[in-house]
């Protein structure tokens, strides 16, 4: 047919019952992703007195509370004679990033219901942008940690070159869990109530306020099934020079992150077409 030859120069979008949104569209929507992340960031700190100071305040305050109650009063030991505040802050930095990211990511689709109902765009943009918006806070809190370390006369060693790897693992863990939460939240509003509670439990299943050394060797792999266990141990090793994370624990954390991410991506992609109908 004559018109087929003319139209081949233009993209053809096919809409059918089991059509998927092409992953390639995610790449063409990268500007949207960055702009949404930037909007989240700007709106979060708009009209707040401290602005980005909140990125410092949250981990700093938690560090103070845990240092007083757990470090001083309960005398929870920090490994290798580390000052407890430095020890706990090095765990809080990745954990706070993870918890904030999962919370925002989980709300990202439901919170943009109007957009979802009225505009077609790759839905994956929303959870990823929600996570991206917490990266500046992560950077600021790492700088804060370095400052607190300096106050105790500590400086990171060569291990710091490995920090980006663990930051990437933290990002992956946050996206992996966030994808599930974001998609499930559209269908089941129960998720909204479960998440704050699960995150609270999660912090105690992660070596934030205590050392992973307290976990018996035989249970390290099991412990590593919590991906943030590997991340926190990695952060401490890279920045504070604590003993390298248990190999089994780290391998388990990486593997679980990969599996949860692959599953979350598959589930999200399977259900994203229905978001506009269900939300």
């Amino acid at each position: 047919m004559n018109d087929e030859t003319v139209t081949t120069t233009r993209p053809v979008r096919v809409l059918e019952p089991d059509g998927r949104i092409a992953l390639g569209e995610l790449w063409s929507a990268r500007d949207l992703m960055v702009l949404l992340a930037w909007r989240d960031l700007k709106v979060r700190y708009a009209q707040s007195l401290l602005g980005a100071g909140w990125a410092l305040g949250q981990p700093l305050l938690m560090m103070g509370v845990f240092s007083v109650f757990l470090g001083v009063l309960a005398k929870v030991p920090a490994p290798g004679g580390l000052p407890y505040p430095v020890f706990v802050l090095s765990g809080l930095v990745p954990w706070v990033f993870f918890a904030n990211s999962v919370t925002s990511t989980g709300q990202s689709v439901v919170g943009s219901a109007q957009l979802v109902e009225k505009v077609a765009f790759p839905r994956l943009v929303m959870p990823i942008a929600a996570m991206l918006a917490w990266l500046p806070d992560l950077g600021i809190s790492i700088a804060l940690l370095l400052g607190v370390m300096a106050a105790w006369g500590m400086a990171p060693g060569w291990g710091i070159v490995a920090l980006p790897l663990f930051a990437v693992l933290a990002v992956c863990a946050a996206v992996a869990v966030g994808l599930w939460v974001a998609a499930l939240n559209v269908a089941y509003r129960d998720v909204k109530y479960a998440i704050p509670f699960l995150l609270q439990v999660g912090m105690f299943a992660t070596p934030v306020v205590y050392s992973a050394e307290l976990v018996p060797d035989s249970a390290q792999v099991l412990y590593g099934l919590n991906p943030m266990a590997g991340v926190v141990e990695g952060f401490r090793w890279a920045l504070l020079g604590t003993p390298a994370p248990h190999a089994g624990l780290l391998a388990a954390s990486v593997a679980v992150t990969g599996v949860v991410m692959a599953g979350g991506l598959a589930y999200f992609r399977r259900v994203e077409r229905w978001f506009a109908d269900v939300i």
């Binding site: 809409l15 019952p17 702009l35 909007r39 709106v43 007195l49 401290l50 077609a120």
Partner: protein, 440 residues
Amino acid sequence: MSSDAGARPLAVRVEGIGKRYRAGHTDGLFRYRSLREELSPRRDRRHADAGDADRTMWALRDVSFEIREGERVGIIGRNGAGKSTLLKVLSGITPPTEGRAEIHGRVASLLEVGAGFHPELTGRENIFLAGAVLGMRRPEIARKVDDIVEFAGVPRFIDTPVKRYSSGMYLRLAFSVAAHLEPDVLLVDEVLAVGDAEFQRRCLGRMEEIGSRGRTVVFVSHSMPAVLRLCERVVLLDGGRLVADGPPHEVIRTYLDAGLGTSARREWPDPADAPGDSIARLRSIRILGGDGAVTETVDLTRPFDVEVEYHHMTNDPASRPFVSLHFVDEHGVCLFASADFGDESWWRTPRAPGLVRSRCRIPADLLAEGKVFVRVAIGSLDPVTVHADEHDAVAFQVVDPNDGTGVRGPYANEWPGVVRPRLAWEVGQVGGEVPYQVSN
């Protein structure tokens, strides 16, 4: 279809598209259930599914048509005919349940003015965000930002958060972003129902311009004048099915003749065909604006009249028919009802056979925006009898002038509620101290 359209390349092909909704939600893998339902025993769930089957509804069924490049096609039909669902399917917002559609070229859909706008961001920031939401790349937006600002006429406020904009400015800026899209295929929903006449004129003008540059426009509307002005071809949907497809005048005639459209005037010149019985028969019902002329559009800040005429057919002095009106929104919700008992002197007057005119004044600041359908009935008491009862006899569009004089004041975003009464507020400062210092 114009004669040369067949030779032009294909822009949109729709083949047997159907969309089924189930009990207000969709059908498919992903169903809304609470976790508790999901976890309930299978037996119960099967039972629930069997119940669901009765509640499925085809919003679209077996719709097929083709659109050639550069055509401007209007989609019309009454509420619930499937127009918006069709647009959502073509936009890719929701998948069809059956059938297939192809869109050739870059597509942009405009189902809502201001999608992606955030009140905390400045005008300029919102241009970038809304542009990206509509599918523009950043360099493209950067190139057009000056034109967008100029078209919107808000240069002085472009670095002010849009929450401080008047509703008119907000709408102009939002539309301006959309107007600078350069898609091959533009899908537009009835966004023109918002804003004042000037804004609507601007929107239409811009769409004509886009169409005249060889781009394909698919336009869903209730407004026959807008469809006639903009479109060279019209598709009529009813009950989710395509019932007519052709030149605008012909299809619109079909629509009106079939009684599919509801206008602001309905007349029954021949009493023999009019709704009614041996006591009373309807003659006409009309929506009258402030100037006494029939109007399809009502400004919610101004009063208007609904006028009903009926023939009183009997000379029985005990016969006392009354007129009642139900005002129903597009979701079928009755907003309020009224009857002409309100005129007490008439109610005491002995009746004679002849033409009766009953006029109801709807005050300003009562209705909210949207389409309102009027059901008219004539009845009697003692015994209670219904002589005539006409659902959706007339309809009119309520618009908000958005000039700051309405109940919404300068607030630009969606205003909830089925009515919008103007209420008395009394505000004043009653103390001089801040109870505690807020840190954030």
